[in-house]
Assembly symmetry: C2
């Protein structure tokens, strides 16, 4: 897969435009997405909405937002204008400035309408753990983006799914209702993956996170969910990494057709889990492992995970997470 030329294969190089945050130090946003995608053979155009010294999880950070007009000019005049770029995929993540979000989404929507092969993946970054970490003015903008554009995939976390649907998700039944409501509100969205949720499925064990997905195009009648054992640590950037790897597995020219979303989510969950375990191994001392208190791990150890990332897309060897399906309409 990685040495097409050496092996005499001829796979074209796919192109993605990734619009996210930039941190000088560490691996969140574009820093979490770019290296794995490049390593997987993607030509990544990297548009940064902010430049920060590090992610805010450190407690302190310095940095600056790019001006809305500057980011817009780069996209509209530069990439889509003068360079006349065509992409296989667009990935949008952290865009904190409401004006930037409005300008970009209008332009990206137009680009998708003009080029039906272009797949837009939206990570509707609004907040986490019950709190917004962008302006509340971004919420209606995202609702508008989801309503008006044929989006290949949207990847909210639990809080973002709740915010976008206006309903709480606490159980499998409310999860089912949430997907139905989401689809009613945003019928043009083709796939949804809720990246991590804390919901109660059965009483015997609560040490897991739940990931759930629905492919409204191929399998509109079923939601698949996964119970992912919790690691005793808090990570930053794992969601950004997950979405980038999902993009690779679903949209790389070598991806198996037809797409099987739940199979792909399962493979990517396994890969990300391996990367998080490797990161824990390289970050924590023996003492850290012995304590019950969850460790805070600031930086993914992506450059130490080449062997894990080297698996061909979609065929991660140790796919440990089996999907369970629930019928959406019954």
């Amino acid at each position: 897969m990685l040495n097409h030329i050496e092996k005499g294969e001829c796979v074209r190089t796919p192109k993605v435009l990734s619009i996210q945050s930039h941190v000088v130090h560490g691996y969140v946003g574009n820093k979490a997405a770019t290296f794995p995608l490049q390593y997987k053979g993607w030509d990544v155009d990297v548009l940064n909405t902010v430049q920060l010294s590090n992610h805010p999880g450190y407690g302190k950070f310095t940095g600056h937002k790019a001006k809305a007009s500057d980011v817009y000019d780069i996209l509209k005049k530069g990439l889509l204008g003068d360079l006349n770029m065509t992409y296989d995929a667009i990935l949008t993540g952290y865009i904190p400035c409401t004006d930037t979000l409005k300008l970009l989404s209008q332009t990206l929507g137009d680009a998708c309408k003009k080029d039906h092969r272009l797949k837009w993946i939206v990570d509707p970054v609004l907040g986490d753990n019950g709190k917004l970490y962008v302006s509340d003015k971004n919420v209606p903008v995202y609702k508008c983006i989801l309503r008006e554009n044929r989006l290949f995939m949207v990847t909210p976390n639990q809080f973002e799914m709740e915010t976008l649907t206006g309903m709480g998700i606490t159980s499998l039944e409310s999860l089912r209702q949430g997907f139905i409501k989401f689809h009613n509100l945003y019928p043009l969205v083709e796939r949804v993956v809720i990246t991590s949720m804390e919901i109660t499925i059965s009483d015997d064990n609560t040490d897991y996170l739940v990931c759930a997905c629905c492919d409204f195009v191929a399998k509109p009648d079923a939601v698949h969910y996964f119970k992912v054992p919790k690691l005793n640590a808090h990570f930053s950037g794992s969601g950004d990494l997950f979405t980038a790897l999902l993009l690779d597995c679903l949209l790389h020219p070598t991806a198996k057709q037809p797409l099987d979303l739940s199979h792909t989510v399962s493979a990517v969950l396994s890969l990300v889990d391996d990367i998080l375990l490797r990161t824990m191994d390289l970050t924590l001392s023996k003492g850290d492992f012995l304590t019950n208190k969850p460790s805070v791990i600031n930086d993914l150890k992506l450059v130490n995970c080449l062997d894990l990332l080297a698996q061909p897309p979609g065929s991660h060897t140790t796919t440990r997470f089996r999907p369970t399906s629930i019928e959406l309409f019954r």
Copy 2:
């Protein structure tokens, strides 16, 4: 080399801070340096001095410079302050804003004085082919940086070497004089690599570029130079790639000690040449190869060169460029 953990080896992850330009599309500046360094196992902190849609060689571009105070805050308050980062190496390249250059160089100089293991590599980006492409006010700032700091390596091109020494370089004799003058002006600079020159060495053949280096610490009496056959194309970013790979080969924890600068330059020239040839193969049509007119190749095909980059540092298999030495003082 790439899978330390899998092989049970335990090599620490080296850290570099790279301060250069950022282009959304293409591979120059930090986009040319970051992926190869990460792939080689470096944890790269990426501080961007500008964000441009693409490099200016395209003819048109859009984008913006980061404010001097913003870049300074990220470095001084963020990375070196709150995060208390220690690096193995610092790589500085395109810093067009004179105020930014002044603020950064003061801070980086102080950091090097405080931590003697820290190696600063300066690519004194001023211009090329006889023309400045930054403000002429940056020239005295670079002269000051080179005079006042113990720099591990400086990597000027021909024009920059001429600008920094105030003398033309047109022959082997003026090259020799240039190195002597450079060392007299900037005795704290430990190594110089002139990345590409058009000078006449003998009359029979002019289809080569000359690269020259001197290690003023280990071999202060000799300059080594290399005749590198010209490719029939103009590339952007090849110098930035060269400097980043040189950094890896010289400063990676697995690099052989003692360092042999001319051997390392030879290996990196071969590797970059292979990457340029691969880039030509992937960019040009058969018709392009048949014409005599040099092709303009805008973007290095870095993500298609994993097999070439995978060689262990310093031991590139096809080291085609043999150094010739000239005595510096005779």
